[in-house]
């Protein structure tokens, strides 16, 4: 059974018809990537999963339980955390405070403390800066903090919205290495939304390519890597 299953999900974003029937399945323990050019509906898909956008049609199931009607903080409690697009660090909170806010819905104080150690080990640069304000970090550091904050919820499924956005290639590969570590060593399932197809395909197991609110292509990363439609969906080539 898939950990997360979307069945024909439709969503309107304000007046915009952003999703026109998305179906996908994420197996436990895998890294799945959702690709597509800007405006294809990637972020809206994530928002539908986390409950910040209410789908207007279709169903979303997590471990077989439908998520419809749940509030965002209930969904977080079920074990779905999110690393939002553009990092969205709390700028006026310190690094440690930011990380603790990721664990807001948890009650197990010792568990939170040990996870904090874990995250700081995973991202040593955050340990150095643990008392600095989130807003004072560089872009790459903020992205690490955003991921760390997501991990602090100890989720079953971590959603990442364009973790490579605006970062230098070397930082991007560092971040994706860490994501693979998290996936392997902690058996955490990841759904990575990316515009940067190459880096995503190199690191994921399975991928979906979105095009204007629909899934255009899907397959294993090897299949997608060879599929010319992937490039075309980005570059707008006709046929």
């Amino acid at each position: 059974m898939a950990l997360l299953r979307l069945d024909n999900v439709e969503a309107n974003y304000g007046a915009v018809r952003a999703l026109q029937g998305i179906s996908l399945a994420i197996e436990e323990g895998s890294i799945v990537t959702l690709l597509g050019a800007n405006g294809a509906g990637k972020s809206t898909t994530l928002k539908s999963i986390s409950g910040t956008v209410q789908p207007s049609g279709g169903t979303i199931e997590f471990e077989g339980k439908p998520l419809g009607g749940l509030t965002t903080n209930q969904i977080v409690k079920l074990g779905i955390a999110q690393v939002p697009e553009g990092r969205k660090i709390f700028k006026d909170l310190t690094v440690t405070e930011n990380l603790n806010m990721g664990a807001y819905s948890r009650k197990d104080t010792p568990g939170i403390a040990s996870d904090l150690e874990l995250v700081l080990d995973l991202f040593p640069v955050l340990k150095e800066r643990s008392r600095q304000l989130g807003g004072s970090l560089s872009g790459g550091e903020q992205q690490m903090l955003a991921i760390g904050r997501g991990l602090m919820a100890r989720p079953r499924l971590l959603l990442l919205d364009e973790p490579s956005l605006g970062l230098a290639p070397i930082i991007i590969s560092e971040i994706f290495n860490t994501l693979r570590t998290i996936n392997k060593e902690h058996r955490m399932t990841l759904l990575v939304v990316e515009q940067n197809a190459n880096v995503a395909l190199k690191n994921a197991d399975y991928g979906y390519v979105l095009q204007v609110g629909r899934i255009a292509v899907e397959g294993t990363v090897d299949e997608l890597g060879k599929n010319k439609d992937v490039v075309n969906s980005y570059m707008g080539a006709q046929e």
């Binding site: 910040t52 965002t72 955390a81 709390f90 909170l93 405070e97 806010m101 807001y104 919820a153």
Partner: protein, 289 residues
């Protein structure tokens, strides 16, 4: 003379500060300028007066009960009035608190009358010498309370989960929601805190001024002015602003004449808004207002 003016200015300023902090906390988490903040204090003062005079309770017990009452009042206002219109434009939120102001004013006048009442002074009236000036014990005790509450707030915002969450909501409510922080609950907490601070201001200021429905009007205005010093956003900015207003108006009153006392704050605010609309501390307002 100068030292004394400054110290008693700081004493009044510290009460403005508590009001200003409440204004800031509510504004930055709900976009609402709470016009009823002063009346929360006024109700608190009346409640304390009843507890002390009519029920014969101890001063501290009365203070505690007034605080509990005002927290309840803040929460009630959030649930009944503000929550249904939480997504409205700024003017709607503002005028809604004006409605609350009118109601609390009317209720106070209805139950307790319009005439001013003395608040039983429980402190030794002999002034004490402090750094070259004489200061009443009441003023000193008020300052001590203000410092203690300030320390408690610092602890709350720095070290407690809900306090940090409250700051996170200020910073970015949408992301806070994504992290599983129940933003509505935090907003409720914010209004509770406004009530908490209001009760202290009301009870502490009552022996200095008097108790009446309009007792807080002028203090509240100065609270706003102080809050604008921090761009309606920064708590330290609001506290510094409040102390600055307390001292400046006291000096203006002492050296230029009492008629200049009240106008000082407004000259300061008009100048500040004209030249540094983002507040004295250079903080950009985070959200469109």
């Amino acid at each position: 003379m100068f030292g004394q003016q400054v110290i008693s200015g700081l004493a009044t300023g510290s009460l403005y500060a508590l009001t200003a902090v409440a204004v800031v906390v509510v504004f930055r988490n709900t976009r609402t300028i709470n016009l009823a903040q002063g009346d929360f204090s006024m109700i608190g003062a009346f409640m304390a007066l009843i507890f002390i005079k009519d029920l014969g309770l101890n001063y501290y017990v009365s203070l505690g009960l007034a605080v509990v009452f005002c927290i309840g009042l803040g929460i009630l206002v959030e649930r009944l009035v503000m929550r249904p219109i939480a997504d409205s434009d700024w003017l709607t939120l503002f005028t809604a608190t004006l409605g609350v102001y009118y109601i609390l004013h009317g209720v106070a006048g209805w139950f307790w009358g319009r005439d001013t009442k003395a608040f039983p002074v429980t402190f030794d009236p002999t002034p004490i010498k402090v750094i070259g000036g004489l200061l009443s014990q009441g003023h000193l005790i008020n300052m001590a309370w203000a410092v203690a509450i300030g320390a408690a707030l610092y602890y709350f915002f720095k070290y407690t989960k809900q306090g940090i969450a409250m700051r996170a909501v200020t910073d970015d409510p949408e992301t806070a929601e994504l992290m599983g922080i129940p933003v509505r609950f935090i907003v409720l907490l914010t209004w509770g805190m406004a009530g908490f601070l209001a009760a202290f201001v009301g009870v502490l200021i009552a022996p200095i001024i008097y108790v009446a429905p309009e007792m807080m009007d002028e203090v509240l205005i100065k609270g706003y002015v102080a809050a604008v010093f921090g761009g309606l956003y920064s708590i330290p900015g609001a506290i510094v602003g409040a102390l600055l207003i307390g001292v400046t108006e006291n000096l203006a009153g002492g050296y230029l004449g009492s008629e200049f006392k009240t106008v000082t704050a407004f000259i300061m605010i008009v100048m500040l808004l004209a030249f540094r609309p983002q507040g004295l501390f250079g903080i950009q307002h985070r959200r469109e207002v």
